[in-house]
């Protein structure tokens, strides 16, 4: 099979069969790209995860772009990324045409009234997991609490402040506060 087509089909399969996105996908990508196809090594896979976490955008997309580029350059990156996105694009597009009609059916509307509650819980769960992984040091904790309080106030009082504003402020503050060192290991405030 032509390598570009192979990339496309492999990532289309991953895109079609992973629910929940993000970290659920990483294990599937590892399984097909490292173990089966041997397109990248295990170490490279670790690197992708770090890159994916530190760059914006969906983690699965970052991985697809990385693996595709590694295999076949720019064309490979495009093939893998498009492959990743295409299956869910088609599914969601179909659903979007019908959801409004679905919601007029009484029991489906009731089901969604229950579902909306679980969405809040899931977001909370994601936040809790991130807090667990966070460095428990004064500066990061303060930034987190300020961002939390600020954002909650913006939501409750329906203010027109974007979360991007908070992120830019946090970026400036951390440039000012964190000691800038060449080594990233355990660099941090002495206290």
């Amino acid at each position: 099979m032509k390598p570009v087509l192979d990339l496309f089909l492999t990532f289309a399969k991953i895109g079609l069969f992973t629910f929940g996105g993000g970290y659920a996908m990483i294990s599937l990508i590892e399984n097909s790209c490292v173990e089966k196809k041997q397109w990248i090594t295990h170490d490279e896979m670790m690197n992708v995860t770090v890159i994916a976490e530190s760059t914006p955008g969906p983690i699965a997309i970052n991985c697809a772009t990385f693996v595709g580029y590694k295999q076949k350059g720019f064309i490979g990156a495009v093939a893998a990324t498009v492959g990743m996105v295409l299956p869910s694009f088609c599914i969601i597009f179909l659903i979007s045409m019908f959801l409004d009609n679905f919601l007029e059916i009484a029991w489906i509307a009731h089901a969604f009234m229950g579902i909306r509650i679980s969405v809040g819980i899931l977001i909370l769960d994601a936040a809790i997991r991130m807090i667990r992984k966070m460095q428990k040091k004064p500066i990061p904790l303060t930034i987190m609490i300020c961002a939390f309080a600020g954002m909650l106030a913006v939501d409750i009082f329906a203010l027109r402040v974007s979360s991007i504003t908070f992120m830019l402020i946090a970026a400036v503050i951390s440039l000012a506060l964190f000691p800038i060192r060449g080594n990233t290991g355990k660099a941090g405030p002495a206290k």
């Binding site: 629910f19 983690i59 990324t81 045409m97 969405v119 899931l122 936040a127 991007i164 992120m167 440039l175």
Partner: protein, 189 residues
């Protein structure tokens, strides 16, 4: 023009969405509410659908919102826009700037950015729950049914995660809450 708005709106989302799918939800909420495309209620439904269909949640949400606003081309525009920044950044990194991530300046920014995003996600989750439990902020009034449902579902979800090694999955929770919704709201309404 709607396609241009979708393009700009979702480029912004794609560029600032650190921290995976849930990092993008506050941003998408910002953009969607600012343009007045859909309300909080509909967004919540779309998040549930995006979580329950295969593929990256952020991309699913973009496709969904785009299609609902401007059909096929809207979906295509929003999806491309949300994917493009991360695609280009990874590409750029591999071509030129492999060491960029190790740059101390970048590291310093990321160290402050991560807790900030965590706080924003936490606020979004808390607000979404409050929104359903408190039917109105002024005057203050509580929706008892939703509050009880939240407590029960929250206990079941976090409880199962604590007790069992592979507790309830997000899709499992959505399934249970759908069932609970049919039983409770179908009876009382």
């Amino acid at each position: 023009m709607i396609l241009f708005d979708l393009l700009v709106g979702f480029l912004k989302v794609g560029l600032f969405a650190f921290g995976g799918a849930y990092g993008a939800i506050p941003l998408i909420r910002d953009v969607v509410l600012a343009y007045g495309w859909i309300d909080d209620e509909m967004l919540t439904y779309m998040i549930a659908v995006s979580e329950s269909t295969p593929g990256p949640i952020m991309v699913n949400l973009a496709t969904y919102i785009g299609s609902s606003q401007a059909g096929f081309w809207g979906g295509l525009t929003a999806t491309t826009a949300v994917v493009l920044p991360s695609f280009l950044i990874v590409l750029l990194m591999m071509i030129l700037l492999t060491k960029l991530l190790k740059n101390p300046l970048v590291q310093a920014i990321l160290r402050g950015l991560k807790p900030c995003i965590t706080g924003i996600i936490l606020a979004t989750g808390v607000f979404m729950i409050l929104q359903h439990c408190i039917s109105s902020f002024h005057p203050w009034s509580v929706d008892t049914t939703a509050t009880i449902l939240t407590i029960v579902l929250g206990t079941v979800y976090f409880g199962s995660r604590k007790v069992l090694k592979n507790g309830l999955t997000p899709i499992g929770l959505i399934g249970i809450s759908a069932l609970a919704g049919i039983l409770i709201y179908g009876r009382t309404l």
